[in-house]
Symmetry: C2
Subunit: 459 residues, 2 copies
């Protein structure tokens, strides 16, 4: 009988693993249990769909359940795994027909993450949403069909910022409430201030240093968001407090930050035989600090799913590609209206916590040669370690073309470059694209100046 | 008496060196001899000025002679160096007042490069231009004031392509004549075909595999460009056959490709004491092959000028930054109308010539997530070494956002990454910017597939 590979979760990580196994192993049964009704969709695209930039959620689906089935994968929708018996090698799950038990030879846990719903008075009122999957998107779009004029977004991470843009773009009066002093806490305050300025320019109200204490309701519908400093009227609310790994199915597995699963570099769960995990439910190695961190992004889920699938295939006799997941450097990119924002590496506090002696500097440059038409302002921030002169982090915010600059910095971090080495790398230059020094090298040069300050050494 | 640093050439390399010396050494005399009337200008911007995208050539000047003088640099314009006596440590030069001799303690040769003017019948006719400095730009703009309707560009390197865009943008019927089978010979044919398609779309006629044999003239004015296959009527012609280093001032210096000066990694001329050189007149180390190559780009000129200036300052007692010029990986970027084009590393033949066993593959992807509004087509080509699996080169052409992708590939080459390593690096992803696999990683994945073909190893 063909071995059975059972995959829990039909999104990026799970379906990538399932597809790899199905492609690489001749005689294998691949079964996928998916709670919802979609597979392989881009969760990252949901705010843009709500904002109307993307017409249909179908556009977000890279491969439908039918397409997976045509390739021989047994996709079971609306099937929720309820328990895993690692010793007996079974999974129990429920669907419309009731509860079932399924045996497995290899297990992939791709359960993803769940939106954080803070335990605040009124949180269960109608009109309060979180954004994680396509059903969440339908719920918001249904709500927007009603008489909805005032939106409040609580939290200004990626999802918060993207939802603020989506609401404002639909003509709602939109307020963002953030606990910290600047928006998008994954960037330093200096970059946050650039974002705050853009929010003002695009008519989104920003309330900072405000702790949400509860929600005003009327007839079970949300009417306001309450903070210690005052109340913000709201017809619709998105709570964007981030996500936590869904890891409760395996209570005995080793867990790290936010209870995410700990895996080896082939995505095998530590301490459990023949169980792999990938995507938003795992923690990953930060290459700069050596810490295991929880960074739920589709790009990691896809890579980890591929690694897991190839590793499983090898365990079933296929030739192994040798591919492992080497960790991350916390690269991320987003936009708010016409402002592109990206980061890679560590923030100042992260660097200090990891034992580095961070030197921080900021620069302002242009997206093209200063004299070239269409050039726009671009802000940068760099962090380096004082003793080793190693680059630790770069953050940028600016006009078109700013965001993708982060990739050069990410590659510098990946390879452990010093700021001096980065200054001299061979990055592209032509007037429609850049000043003669790439913005990332402008950051690196500013860091050499900061490192030289007071030392008598030129920079 | 303060030591005198004499700089021949007042453009990027020379003025960067002069400025560094002036900044870092307390008691020094810095004299710059410049043939023309401008300093520190962006030669790369000249085609865009001719095309009308930039209003004035003044916009191209980063720092005027007056600004340099205010900082204490003795800039002498319209002063042409005619000889260097390395033993006597003197330079002779001519200006309006006649010939002069100037002693130096340290010499910088920043003489740049000269446009190649092929020895063809009719080449000296009025209306035939080359494009290298601001005076060339004025000459073309003056010519365009007349009754000029048909432009022919001979050669389709950067300058040729940019001038074709400039002429077409001004409404001239424009033809590009190229010896090879596809335009822009610094990219492989596959990418060249994408460019050829864009030229057709923008109404620029492309004639390939055509050798120019001479120029038709009437009353000393050009009337056509002649090839073995036929004649192309022309009111104005740009000959864009590239440039050669201006290195004749120092006949005894060691020279490399195209007679460019050979320097050490502090830009000191090999075999000559106290003489430095930087910019378009030197050859530079290709980090992938170990060869010395001539790559005349402003980005290298600026970096080399900085290295030279700091090295000179150190020789005069200043603390040395430790900065050296580490070589290049032949990164370059340009655009033709709305098509962005970039390359880094080696082409297939270059790789073969350098002793690698190149594997080549091409991909087509999108500039944003496939479902995101405004996504455009993007073509990529990758080259890897079969035995080491090391990345050797990447080339791209596509819509907005394609070009700068090359920087991630350039950093991968810089650090000697294999294609397998590149696939797993942490590059940025969000739907407005990318598919979940960055285009450079799509290229790398395609290379792993190509490398696996026939080996039984998955990719």
């Amino acid at each position: 009988m063909a071995p059975r590979v059972l995959v829990i979760g039909g999104d990026a990580a799970g379906m990538t693993a399932a597809s790899a196994v199905n492609r690489l192993v001749d005689d294998v049964e691949v079964v996928v249990l998916e709670r919802g009704t979609y597979t392989s969709y881009s969760a990252c695209g949901i705010p843009f769909w709500i904002g109307g930039e993307i017409d249909s959620c179908d556009d977000l689906v890279a491969r439908t359940p039918e397409q997976h089935r045509e390739r021989g994968i047994d996709v079971r929708l609306e099937s929720t795994a309820t328990g895993v018996d690692v010793d007996a090698r079974t999974v129990t799950y429920t669907d419309a027909a009731g509860e079932h038990t399924l045996a497995w030879d290899r297990l992939v846990v791709g359960t993803g993450a769940a939106s954080v719903r803070p335990d605040l008075p009124g949180i269960d009122a109608t009109g309060i949403h979180t954004i994680k999957d396509i059903d969440d998107g339908h719920a918001v779009l249904d709500a927007l069909d009603g008489d909805v004029r005032r939106a409040v977004v609580v939290g200004s991470g990626y999802i918060g910022m993207e939802m603020a843009e989506a609401f404002a773009g639909r003509g709602l009066r939109t307020t963002v409430i953030e606990r910290e002093s600047t928006p998008l806490p994954i960037v330093e305050d200096h970059i946050g201030e650039v974002i705050a300025e853009a929010m003002g320019r695009f008519g989104v109200e920003l309330v900072t240093e405000a702790e949400v204490t509860g929600f005003g309701t009327s007839d079970g519908r949300v009417t306001s968001v309450q903070t210690a400093e005052g109340e913000h009227e709201a017809d619709i609310v998105v709570v964007a407090f981030g996500v936590t790994p869904r890891s409760s199915l395996l209570p005995d597995a080793q867990k790290g930050m936010k209870d995410g699963f700990v895996t080896d570099d082939q995505q095998r769960l530590t301490g459990l035989d023949d169980v792999w995990s990938a995507g938003d439910c795992v923690v990953t190695l930060d290459r700069l600090t050596g810490d295991l961190v929880h960074v739920p992004l589709g790009t990691h889920a896809n890579k980890q799913g591929l690694v897991a699938g190839e590793s499983i295939a090898a365990s079933l006799g296929a030739t192994w590609s040798g591919r492992t997941f080497p960790g991350i450097v916390q690269t991320a990119i987003t936009k708010f209206c016409d402002l592109e924002i990206a980061r890679t590496g560590l923030g100042e506090q992260q660097a200090r916590d990891a034992g580095f002696d961070p030197v921080v500097t900021t620069i302002e440059t242009t997206t093209r040669a200063g004299y070239y038409p269409g050039t726009e302002s671009m802000h940068g921030l760099g962090i380096a370690d004082r003793s080793t002169r190693r680059l630790l982090g770069v953050q940028v915010a600016g006009g078109a073309g700013s965001g993708l600059r982060i990739d050069a910095a990410a590659m510098a971090l990946w390879n452990g470059l010093t700021v001096d080495e980065l200054v001299m790398t061979d990055l592209s230059y032509a007037p429609p694209f850049s000043s003669v020094w790439s913005p990332i090298q402008v950051v690196a040069r500013a860091l050499t100046k900061e490192l030289a300050a007071g030392t008598g050494r030129p920079a």
